[in-house]
Symmetry: C2
Subunit: 249 residues, 2 copies
């Protein structure tokens, strides 16, 4: 497919390797990928707060302004970092059925986020359009190939699922960060959150929430209950009904 850069928005051109670099001037001493990797190293080490153009440039072994020969603006660098950090989607066995496939997809996505928490701090900039994002999207769609769900709804399903994973990972990552600041465990963070709610929530003003707290939901001894699993199961149950409905109808 021939691609003239005109039709592709400027902020996506770099991600798709559409920046033509004519052979005129000196050899480039840096590579876009090297810069992006440097940015990822900085973010992984010290968080996105530490990702400044000068810090990334230092990490890449160049001067601050050199980066602008490869990247239009800092936002573009961040987008490239995210796209690279997402990486390739897992290989999903089409024979295992849509539910197992989507489950694996969601867990893999979540694992990527949790292992690189800085990604949650880069704001979304629109519907998926970078190469790896589309690869994940495609992988997700592929496991629903056997179902009778119309294409439009397949797309919406993946968008629903990816939004959920992102939401849940964001909260999980936030709590983990709060935890690491005090060097305690995730269990303790939940307990601390419960203590906070107990302080703040007046049962007369927030009766339903009061009942939740009174039920001991935040008590430390609560046995293994996984927030992520719960939401995932609800969503997949809902999709299951859709699958039956579209197959039966």
């Amino acid at each position: 497919m021939e691609l003239d850069g005109d039709a592709v928005p400027a902020n996506l051109a770099a991600a798709w390797g559409l920046r033509e670099r004519p052979g005129r001037g000196p050899k480039p001493g840096l590579t876009l990928d090297g810069i992006v990797q440097a940015g990822i190293r900085v973010a992984a080490a010290d968080g996105i707060g530490a990702v400044s153009m000068s810090r990334v440039a230092a990490e890449a072994g160049a001067s601050t302004m050199a980066l602008y020969r490869y990247v239009r603006a800092k936002d573009e660098l961040l987008e490239l970092m995210v796209d690279t950090a997402i990486g390739d989607p897992p290989r999903l066995d089409p024979a295992q059925g849509w539910r197992a496939g989507l489950t694996a997809w969601a867990w893999a996505c979540r694992a990527v986020y949790v292992s690189q928490p800085w990604m949650m701090r880069v704001p979304i900039s629109g519907p998926p359009a970078t190469p790896h994002q589309l690869a994940w999207l495609d992988a997700g769609l592929s496991v629903m190939a056997g179902t009778g769900i119309p294409e439009e709804e397949k797309l919406s399903t993946i968008l629903l699922l990816s939004g959920y994973v992102r939401s849940e990972a964001t909260v999980a990552v936030d709590m983990l960060a709060a935890v690491q600041a005090v060097d305690s465990s995730l269990d303790e963070a939940i307990t601390a959150y419960g203590r906070l709610l107990k302080l703040l929530v007046d049962p007369a003003r927030f009766p339903s929430l009061g009942r939740v707290i009174a039920a001991g939901v935040f008590d430390p001894d609560t046995d293994q209950y996984d927030e992520f699993v719960f939401g995932l199961d609800r969503i997949l149950d809902g999709i299951g009904l859709l699958v039956e409905q579209r197959a039966g109808g």
Copy 2:
């Protein structure tokens, strides 16, 4: 309930009105609420990018540094702005049943986000803990009172739903923003996105995505299909199964 500020994290104290202001010095000329309102006006007019301490101070009729007598840092101001902008949850009729209630709740939440798009650009800073956030949480929980769902799962359900609403609203708001930059319609934005995907997606590399595109999902004449409704219905279907299950078991 007596609240000494010690147990409440510093960034929440202001939101809960726990900043004690002893009667010693001069009368304060500003109010926290006035500052927050000023911030909201700036954000509504020119986006969060325009919300700088000096801009908000000017809007509030004070000097930049005066704000720091009321707010610990900019982040805290942003949190307060979000909490205020969320406002009070809708009154939900408990008699209408959990599904209608959650539907109304989700639509109301989405409406708030879409009418104040800047809210989507303020990063989440942890589990819900500000007064209005807890009020929304409580309202959501209250409509599930009649179901046999355990408290823990009620909480997870609302978290699932609110995460979904936020995800979907973020994308919707992004597309609306992109649209307004070119002064076109949302329909055109979707069509443009489809055109972009058609350019970028090699069907050999992304076969499933290629099928979605080929099915004409992004064609402009697609009749009224609402992304938000789709996801919401799937989630509510999944919750419905849970309700039956907990009632039956």
